[in-house]
Structure formats: structure tokens, C-alpha cells
């Protein structure tokens, strides 16, 4: 049995009258690629922001490496956050900085003091990991969407985190780029031995990369299983995700 | 990389802002120090137009300002601060004077004079009241007066108007009767010519009759004439007696009067000549140009005297150590300050780098036919001289002239009563070793009176060069620190005074 890295117990969160998360439970195992799939507005992003401590829950507990982050002071949360790297849906590259400066950013703001030469080496190494070379001095505005996503991934793993969170990594990309991003997620896991949490509504990608898929609906996990189990499931909602009406013959 | 640009830009902003602030602050700051002023106060019935910081002037020269205006028993208590070197006596007078029709006013102070008789020979102690106050005529009062005057004028014109309107009938009547009268007279004269002729004829007849009458009475007339003759004789005798008694003493009245009249004649002629501008005195008096010239000459002499009186001299000795040249450089400076806004600077400099003279010669090198140009650079250890003329604007002084025996210019920024000075000199423009002049900049800080420290950078833009043969530092950027002593003629007077006083 693998070790649990993230454990979410009975998570509730409301925004005004909007009860987004309604007693959500989830565990993520070390080294796994956990995909959380759900429709738009099902609370996927809210869940992710809770896991990294950007939002605090109305009720429920979240454990990261056995530590309960829902009871932590802001400063302790900061410490725990260093275990995470996050790839945003919009990449969220700092557009006033060059690609190299973006990737180097987590190193510069961290506790550890890196030398300039070391930073340059790590930046080169991480960019090579996402198959980008010679783009160090470009500004984010000069990159394509797929390239931005890769740089975002390079930035997310620059400080060697234990957990990488992906927020809709394939949304809004063409099928070719989706493929390469999926490959990158797998490759990153294999090379860096990180735990990955991917939230998505793209079932095809999920089936391709996931070790485990959790389906989120109305603030709860309604189904969990491996890609094979999902494909065999007869849950109507899950089946609609697997075979959208538009795709049916 | 870009951080350098950021630093430069922010640094530029900081410098520009701070310099702007210092310039404004220096300009706005009142020159006379706040601590050396005496406070007095006076009561005014009307302080309108006065405000704190309004000028207090003596003979038009600002000597202080109003520090506060408060109420005291229905009158305005005006407190003034007056420079302590202006003594104020008990008979001083404080006058309020308008400076514009807008109501802006200032105080004119007549500081008074010592009056030993009344026991008022000591100046007023600070904090006491100036009792003599003249408020002057305020705009309000002028306006009130003007109102009265216009009211009077209006009344007069109104009366006049009424008189003319009321009496116009009678005036016209008078005119009409005058016309009537003259017309009647005219007619009368015309009609009466014949009658006049008759009258004249009658008159002729009467005179004839009269003549007849007198010829008949000749004796009586002769008697009357005799009487008259006697009377005149008597009168002549009396007059002769009177004249004799007056002329009795010496030659009589005649010569005296003649002399007097001669004298008067002379005087008149002199005056006439003077008036015509003849003779030296005449020219002096009547020739305007000459008069003006004499006046100007006198003024010039007086100016010269005051200038001599105000000429200040400052001598300073300075030595500084140059780090690359590894030796000291010495200066003796004489500053002549005829007025606060200009000075002359004479300086003797002993520079370890020496004076470089360059000569271009044509010579034939041995064994060659062709003549060649060759430059000979001779470095001599002679003293260098600076002669500079400087003009000063507030805290900035601009100098130009001879700097270290070459042409140049420079400027000084003076702060903290000239205790902190930033200097920049540019000179030696024509040197062939570098395409830019020698720029020297340094800061002087007077730590205790007469003693200052200096730190600076010489030849800021030139690469340092050493003589390949001797290894001696030849030219280029060099840092230096040093110190100097500075004395004004006042100090020297005191110094010499004590020395000569101490001698037997």
C-alpha cells in the first residue's frame, strides 16, 4: 500500500448562497497521478485552492504529509506551500519577467540561497525537461499557448516540489498540444517522482494519464476508480462524461 | 542588467528632487538668523494690512519682521523682531506704511537716538514696548476723506446749478436793459449833433468873455503873483537850510550815495557775469555739465573710499595628499572680496606633477637627411599660478580665468554659511594626452573656524598614466585628501594687533 500524501475530509465551502463543496472526501497517494474530473462550476478549482491553502474551508480538514493545514497560521502554510508546484490554467507567467526569470522565480524567493550560476543551470535543466531551449530571453507575450504551458510547468517544478497541481492543463489547447502536455505530465512524474493532482473536464486526457480518477459532482466525489474501472462503470453521470451526446454516433 | 538602469534612473530622480529641494529651501530661507534678533512690541489702533512676517525697515532697509499680532484690550499688539545690531532707543518711532493700494503694509522703524538728558541714552531692553506709534493714513481713511470732499463738491455744484437756474431770468433782464440803454444812447447822440454845435459855440463865447474880464483886472492878478513869488522864496530858503544841516559832517551826503550806487553797480555786474557763466565760479554755478561732473567725481571718490572700506581679504593655506602621485600638493590662496557677489582669487600652486611645457621642433635626426617633427615635453617643477575672477549668485559662485597656469573655469556650491563647499574646476583644455580637459572636483568642510578638511578627485575623466622610464605618476585620475587654514583680514588684524601690542 502506498503512502497517502494528501487527505481531504468532509470539506465544505460556500461563496455567499452558493454552496460549492459539500462534504468532499479525497485521498491522494504518493507518486500517483490523481485526476479530478468534473463539469465547469463543480468546484474543482475551489478544491485545488483549498489543497494549496489559498482558500480556507468552512468545515472539514485537509492534511498534507500528515499535517493539518486547515489549522495552520499563514506562516506555516507558507512553509507547506513549498512542497507544491502549481500549473495554472492560464499559465500565469509573470509578464514583466523573461522566461528565464519566470522559471528562476521560485528559486529566488525561496529560503535557500542559490548562486547565480546554479540558478542558470537549474533554469536550463528545467526548460530542457519541458523540451524548450533557447527561449530564456523571450518575454511570455512572445510565446504560444503551448509554450507558455511548458514554461509554467518548468516554473512549477523549478524548486523540486513533492506535489505538482495542474489546473485544467489541457483546456483551450489544440489536440496535438494536448497530447504533448499529457506526455509532459507523465514524463515529469516519471523523472521527478512527484505526486500529481490534475483537475480537468477532459476525460480523454484523464484516461490517458491518470492512475486514479475521481469524478466530482455537486461538491462531492461521486465516483472513484482507475481508468479501466471508470470505463466499465455504469454510473449514468460518469457515462455521460465518457460518451458525450455530441460524440455519439 | 536592467537593475542597473533602474538604479540610475531612481538615483537621478533622487538627486534631482533633493537638489530642487535644497535650491528652493536655500532661496526661501531668510538670511538673517532667527536667534540674533531682539523682540519689541507696540500697540496699534489698526493693524490691517500687517501680517506676521511683514517687513520691519529702517530707512527702507529690512532689519526684521513682525513675529505676531494679537489683541490686547481692543488694540492690536504687534510684536516685532529686530536685528540685534540695530539699537532701538526709548524715543524710537514705529510707523505703519502702505506699500500698495491692495492694503499690503509694512512697518518703518525710526530707531531713535540716545538722549542723555532724559536718561534715555541706553537702548531699549529687548521685550519692551515702543511707545511712539504712527499709524499713517490708511486706505480707509483716504476713502473716507475722498467721500467728504466729493460730498462738498457735489453741494457746491448743486448750488451753482440752482443759482443759474433761478436767476437766469434776471440775468437775461439785465442784459436786455443794457442793450436797451446803449441803443437809446446811440439814438440820442445821433439826434443831438446840432445841439452840440450850439453848445460849443456858446462855450466859445463864454471863454471870450472871460478873457475880457481878466484883462480888466490886471493889478489884482499882479498882486497875487507877487505873493506867490514870496512864498516860493521862503520855501527855497528853508530847503537850503535843511541840506546844509544834512551835509555838515564831511563831504556831505553826495559821495556816500555815489559810493553806494557804485558798489551796487559792481555787484550787479558780477551777478550778471556769474549769471552769464563767466569766470570759474560762474561756470561752476551755471554750467550744468560741469556741475554734474564735479558731483560725479565727488561721488566716485566716496564710492572708492567705501569700496576700500568694504574690501575683504582672505588668505588660505592648503595642502593635500595625492594618492597615486604619492606626494603633497600645496596652495597659497589670496581672495579679494570687494563685494559679497564677486571676488578675485590669486593662487600659487606647488604641484608635484609639475608644469608640462610642450615644444614642437624641427630637427634632423643624426644620419638622416630628412627633417622630422618632434615634440619635446618638459616637465618642470616650477610653481603654477591661478588668477580667477568670480561672480557669486546666492550659494553658487562661477569662476573663470587662469587655473594652474592654464585657462579654465569652475564653480562652487556653498552651503551651511559657506562651511560646506562643493567645487568643480575644468582647466588645461589644450593638452594633447587627452581629448577632454582636466576636471577636478572636491568638497571642503570647515570643521572648526579657520580650519577645513578637503577630499576630492583630480582629473576625473583621464586614465591614470605613469612615466615608463621613471615610474613616476604623470597624469590621470587621482584621489586626494587634505586640510587647510583660512584667515580673513579681520582675523589677521586681530592677530597682528596682538603681536604688535605684545611687542615692547
Amino acid at each position: 500500500m502506498r503512502r497517502t500524501v494528501i487527505e481531504v475530509v468532509g470539506l465544505h465551502k460556500s461563496f455567499g448562497p452558493n454552496h460549492v463543496l459539500r462534504g468532499l472526501d479525497l485521498t491522494v497517494e504518493k507518486g500517483a497521478i490523481q485526476v479530478i474530473i468534473g463539469a465547469s462550476g463543480s468546484g474543482k478549482s475551489v478544491l485545488l485552492k483549498h489543497i494549496i491553502g489559498l482558500l480556507s474551508p468552512d468545515a472539514g480538514r485537509i492534511y498534507v504529509d500528515g499535517e493539518e493545514i486547515t489549522r495552520m497560521s499563514p506562516r506555516e502554510i507558507m512553509r507547506v506551500r513549498k512542497k507544491f508546484g502549481m500549473v495554472f490554467q492560464t499559465s500565469a507567467l509573470f509578464d514583466s519577467l523573461t522566461v528565464a526569470e519566470n522559471v528562476a522565480f521560485p528559486l529566488r524567493v525561496g529560503d535557500r540561497q542559490y548562486g547565480e550560476e546554479e540558478i542558470r543551470r537549474i533554469v536550463r535543466e528545467k526548460l530542457a525537461l519541458v523540451h524548450l531551449e533557447g527561449v530564456e530571453h523571450l518575454m511570455p507575450a512572445e510565446l504560444s499557448g503551448g509554450m507558455k504551458k511548458r514554461v509554467a510547468l518548468a516554473r512549477a517544478v523549478a524548486h523540486d516540489p513533492e506535489i505538482v497541481l495542474y489546473d485544467e492543463p489541457t483546456t483551450g489547447l489544440d489536440p496535438i498540444t494536448v497530447e504533448s502536455v499529457n506526455d509532459l505530465i507523465l514524463e515529469t512524474r516519471d523523472r521527478l517522482q512527484v505526486t500529481s493532482v490534475v483537475i480537468s473536464h477532459d476525460m480523454a486526457s484523464a484516461l490517458y494519464i491518470a492512475d486514479d480518477i475521481a469524478v466530482l459532482k455537486e461538491g462531492r466525489i461521486i465516483f472513484r476508480g482507475t481508468p479501466e474501472e471508470i470505463q466499465r462503470a455504469d454510473h449514468p453521470y460518469v457515462r455521460r462524461f465518457l460518451h458525450p451526446r455530441a460524440a455519439r454516433p | 542588467m536592467s537593475a542597473i538602469g533602474t538604479n540610475v534612473k531612481v538615483g537621478f530622480l533622487l538627486l534631482a528632487g533633493i537638489v530642487a529641494f535644497i535650491v528652493i529651501y536655500n532661496f526661501v530661507q531668510d538670511r538673517q538668523g532667527g536667534g540674533r534678533a531682539n523682540e519689541y512690541w507696540a500697540l496699534f489702533g489698526d493693524a490691517s494690512g500687517l501680517s506676521p512676517r511683514s517687513d520691519v525697515r529702517v530707512a527702507g532697509v529690512k532689519v526684521g519682521e513682525i513675529s505676531a499680532i494679537t489683541l490686547q484690550g481692543g488694540r492690536a499688539r504687534v510684536e516685532i523682531a529686530v536685528r540685534s545690531d540695530v539699537p532701538v532707543y526709548p524715543n524710537a518711532v514705529l510707523m505703519k506704511r502702505r506699500t500698495s493700494i491692495l492694503g499690503d503694509a509694512l512697518l518703518e522703524l525710526d530707531p531713535g537716538f540716545p538722549e542723555p538728558r532724559n536718561g534715555g541714552d541706553a537702548p531699549l531692553p529687548p521685550g519692551s514696548q515702543i511707545r511712539n506709534v504712527q499709524e499713517g493714513i490708511s486706505v480707509e481713511q483716504i476713502l473716507e476723506l475722498l467721500g467728504d470732499v466729493t460730498r462738498d463738491v457735489r453741494r457746491i455744484t448743486a448750488n451753482l446749478d440752482r443759482i443759474i437756474a433761478d436767476e437766469s431770468g434776471s440775468i437775461q433782464q439785465i442784459l436786455r436793459s443794457v442793450e436797451d440803454l446803449t441803443g437809446r444812447l446811440d439814438r440820442l447822440v445821433e439826434r443831438s449833433t446840432d445841439e452840440i454845435a450850439v453848445i460849443l459855440e456858446n462855450a466859445e463865447v463864454i471863454s471870450y468873455n472871460l478873457r475880457e474880464l481878466t484883462s480888466g483886472k490886471n493889478d489884482d492878478v499882479e498882486e497875487i503873483l507877487a505873493n506867490a513869488r514870496e512864498i516860493t522864496r521862503e520855501a527855497r530858503d528853508a530847503l537850503a537850510g535843511l541840506r546844509a544841516s544834512l551835509g555838515e559832517g564831511e563831504e556831505g551826503m553826495g559821495p556816500t550815495v555815489a559810493r553806494l550806487s557804485r558798489t551796487l553797480e559792481h555787484l550787479e555786474s558780477i551777478v550778471r557775469r556769474i549769471d552769464r557763466g563767466e569766470g570759474a565760479l560762474g561756470r561752476l554755478i551755471s554750467d550744468e555739465e560741469l556741475g554734474e561732473r564735479v558731483g560725479a567725481a565727488l561721488e566716485g571718490v566716496s564710492n572708492y573710499v567705501t569700496r576700500l572700506d568694504s574690501l575683504q581679504t582672505e588668505i588660505s593655506l592648503r595642502t593635500e595628499y595625492l594618492f597615486r602621485a604619492e606626494s603633497a600638493k600645496n596652495y597659497v590662496t589670496l581672495r579679494l572680496i570687494p563685494s559679497p557677489d564677486q571676488f578675485f582669487l590669486l593662487q600659487i600652486v606647488d604641484d608635484p606633477l609639475g608644469f608640462v611645457r610642450r615644444e614642437s621642433v624641427l630637427r634632423s635626426p643624426p644620419g638622416e637627411d630628412e627633417a622630422a617633427h618632434q615634440e619635446i615635453r618638459t616637465t618642470t617643477d616650477i610653481l603654477k599660478f591661478s588668477v580667477e575672477l568670480a561672480k557669486r549668485y546666492s550659494f553658487l559662485a562661477i569662476r573663470f580665468g587662469l587655473i594652474e597656469s592654464t585657462g579654465g573655469f569652475g564653480f562652487d556650491l556653498n552651503f551651511l554659511d559657506d562651511r560646506l563647499t562643493f567645487t568643480l574646476d575644468a582647466f588645461d583644455f589644450a593638452r594633447p594626452e587627452a581629448s577632454f580637459p582636466r576636471i577636478r572636483t572636491y568638497t571642503n568642510l570647515t570643521v572648526i573656524p579657520h580650519f577645513y578638511l578637503t577630499v576630492g578627485l583630480d582629473d576625473a575623466f583621464a586614465r591614470a598614466r605613469w612615466d615608463p622610464v621613471t615610474g613616476r605618476f604623470r597624469m590621470g585620475r587621482d584621489f586626494f585628501v587634505g586640510a587647510g587654514l583660512s584667515f580673513s583680514d579681520e582675523d589677521l588684524k586681530v592677530l597682528f594687533g596682538t603681536i604688535s601690542g605684545g611687542l615692547p
Partner: protein
């Protein structure tokens, strides 16, 4: 009647909303300001961020401030010379201009220009960072976004505005003297002579203190509106406009309050 009544009610309601919005903005800014003050003393101290914020706010506004100062001084000088020459009070022209520049015009005009230029830029930049998740990204990298982004910007506003105002003062008075002397034929002495006795260092310093407060207001308004922007590109545009309006209004209101507070000090000798 009914329509009119409803219209009036709606108007009152709208006005109430506006007032409530301004009060809410004020409260939000105050809370943010207090939080930033606490964050300021907490390490790490990011001098580079401060410098680049000073570059953006201060150096970037230098040209527009100098330009404004020149023309403000020139126009003011024309008008004042014209008016005062009617009363033979030409000697007061320089003093009047210098005093009103030092106390009021330089701080307020500088602050308004910088609000338009840099306050809006702050709101746009932060708003863009907010809607493109860059601020969240910062937070995930264990950096407090407020500490990293807002503290240096607000301090840059507080520190650079007095510098810009001092420059404004100098440029404006030089421009005013230039116009008065060349165009209005005032003598150099008439223009400058009365300034030292009418204007005190504390007038200048009071103006600079004001400008520091204005710097705080305009940068805080930009930060507050930009940092809390929502709703994509449109939201960013809205935040920018609101930041400029809020900043300008608060600068003018606070100028009145600050002048009220400072007048007794300025008047005292």
C-alpha cells in the same frame, strides 16, 4: 406621479449606492493600508522591487510633471502679473506664485498627474496580474503577494511624490519668473525680492508632507482597485478608471483637510 416618485426613489437609491461605495472603498483602502504597514516591517525587504516601483512611479512621471509644472507656472504667472499690475502690486507676483505653488499647486497638480499616469498603471498592472492568476501564482510560490507587489508600490508613492513635488516647485517658479520677466516685463528684482520674506521653508516642507500623503493615497487607490479586480479584461479597465477617480477625489478632499490642519502652523511665525 407614480413614475416620477419611482424615478426619485431610484435616484436616491443610486446616490446612496455611490456614497456607500465610496465609504466601502475608503474602508477597504484603510484596511489594506494598515495591513501593508504591518507587512512592511516583516522581512524579507525587497529593495529591488521598491526601486523598480520608484522607477515606474517616479522617474516615469518625471517628464509629465516637468511639463505640467512649466505650463502651470507660466500660465499662473501671466494671470497674476496681469491682475496685480492693475493695483501696482507687481512686487507681489513672485511671492504670490511661490507661496501658492509651495503650499497647494505643486503638491496637488503633481499628485493628480501622477495619479493619471502611475496610479492607473498600478491598477492596470495589478488587475491584469489578478485576472491572469499571476497573483495566485505568486501565492503558490510561498510569496505573500501583498508583501511582494503592494508594499513596494505604496512606499514608492510615498517616497517619490515629495521628490517630484520639489522638482515641480522649482520648474514652476522658474517658468513663472521667465514669463513674468520676458512677457510681462517685470524686473527680475521685482519678481524675486519678496519671495524670501513671504515664503517660509515650512511652506515648502508642508507642501512636501502633503505630497507624501497624496503619494500614499494614489498608490493605495491603484493597489486596492487593481488587486481586487475581477472579471477579465473589462474588470481591469473598470479597476483602472475607478483607481484614477478614487485617487483624484481622495487627493482633493484630503488636500482640504491637510490645508486646514496646516494653516495654523503656516501662519505662525
Amino acid at each position: 406621479m407614480g413614475d416620477l416618485g419611482r424615478g426619485a426613489l431610484r435616484l436616491v437609491g443610486t446616490l446612496g449606492d455611490i456614497v456607500l461605495q465610496v465609504v466601502a472603498d475608503l474602508g477597504g483602502m484603510a484596511r489594506m493600508g494598515a495591513r501593508l504597514l504591518v507587512l512592511t516591517i516583516r522581512p524579507p525587504y525587497r529593495l529591488r522591487n521598491l526601486l523598480s516601483a520608484m522607477e515606474a512611479i517616479g522617474f516615469g512621471s518625471l517628464s509629465v510633471v516637468v511639463l505640467t509644472a512649466f505650463f502651470a507656472g507660466a500660465v499662473f504667472s501671466l494671470q497674476v502679473s496681469l491682475a496685480f499690475s492693475l493695483f501696482n502690486a507687481e512686487t507681489l507676483v513672485g511671492a504670490t506664485i511661490a507661496l501658492s505653488m509651495a503650499r497647494e499647486l505643486a503638491p496637488v497638480l503633481t499628485a493628480l498627474m501622477v495619479t493619471g499616469r502611475a496610479g492607473s498603471a498600478i491598477a492596470t498592472e495589478l488587475g491584469t496580474m489578478r485576472v491572469s492568476e499571476q497573483i495566485d501564482a505568486l501565492a503558490t510560490m510561498a510569496v505573500e503577494p501583498e508583501h511582494y507587489l503592494l508594499v513596494p508600490r505604496v512606499w514608492a508613492g510615498v517616497l517619490t511624490l515629495p521628490l517630484l513635488t520639489a522638482i515641480f516647485n522649482l520648474v514652476a517658479i522658474l517658468a513663472a519668473s521667465f514669463v513674468a520677466i520676458t512677457v510681462e516685463n517685470l524686473s527680475v528684482a521685482a519678481f524675486w525680492a519678496r519671495i524670501p520674506s513671504w515664503v517660509d521653508p515650512k511652506d515648502v516642507i508642508g507642501g512636501l508632507i502633503k505630497s507624501a500623503v497624496f503619494g500614499l493615497i494614489l498608490s493605495l487607490a491603484g493597489c486596492y482597485k487593481g488587486y481586487n479586480a475581477t472579471g477579465g479584461a473589462r474588470g481591469v479597465g473598470l479597476a483602472t478608471t475607478q483607481a484614477v477617480v478614487l485617487g483624484s477625489v481622495l487627493i482633493l478632499v484630503s488636500d482640504y483637510l491637510l490645508t486646514t490642519v496646516m494653516l495654523p502652523w503656516w501662519r505662525s511665525s
